[in-house]
Symmetry: D2
Subunit: 91 residues, 4 copies
């Protein structure tokens, strides 16, 4: 597997780690930790979620989009893919 590829096990491990980070955020707010420290942890969670998103996108293009193009279709899948990237990018 190259850089962005993630298998199901990898995705699950990353999501479990993100779930732990969110519990950490809940604990930090509960204990009135310093805002900037909470924000640093929050940024880490957002970055980790984005990385999972890129991994999902990668799997989606390599399987679903590729297969529908190979079947001579793909227009709807490409349109859906681009719309998803647009929302992901924050347009």
């Amino acid at each position: 597997m190259y850089g962005y590829a993630m298998d199901k096990e990898d995705l699950q491990a990353r999501l479990a780690r993100i779930a732990g980070q969110v519990r950490g955020l809940q604990r930090m707010v509960d204990e009135d930790k310093y805002c900037i420290d909470i924000l640093t942890q929050l940024n880490a969670s957002t970055a980790a979620l984005k990385a999972v998103g890129v991994g999902l996108l990668d799997a989606h293009v390599r399987h679903c989009v590729r297969q529908s193009i190979e079947r001579g279709e793909g227009d709807a899948e490409i349109e859906e893919l681009v719309a998803t990237v647009a929302r992901f990018v924050g347009r």
Copy 2:
């Protein structure tokens, strides 16, 4: 309270909801749901985390940064604030 202000209870409620969203993501990956649907849910979690971040930033400026400026200080707090926003913005 105005638009972006969040008290501790509000922050906790939002983080609890985000924890639930992440559990939802774990379930969706486990059940091999359609990538695009998982990505939509993931985008919602990222947006919810960002909203909490803005709420924390708001509390931080209204309390910590304001108080240190009122004490005739504030340089270090402003520098730290801007550095945090810079990382948050993804620079």
Copy 3:
């Protein structure tokens, strides 16, 4: 053409508008306009650039990536595409 598709003329028109926005930013800084107003204009330029990016991505997937998959290739193009989206998303 659907939502995100842009032809060359459309891309050029959007880039010309962005060039005008950047000149507007230069003028605003020159005239010491209120920071928040400059930031609002700057946000508009960033959003416009992102929209062009999505349009380019759309064209790229519909032509280059599709064609290479149709030729029975596509691995390198998909990897490059995902890496580009990853940088675009700010991971």
Copy 4:
């Protein structure tokens, strides 16, 4: 000056460079350059705009927001600041 601070001259120099990058984008589209190369250049322009935004935000907090707090005011400025950061962050 520390990390994110920019004086007017620095802001102008950065905006002039961004204007040049946008002209470069126009030329690349005109010459039908490879989409991914245009996207790489576009990403550089977006990052450069964001950096200018952080510099403007820095100047704004160090001057306008600080001064209004020192005058015993600041509520409206803090609310405006947070709303601007929220839009900047893409919430």
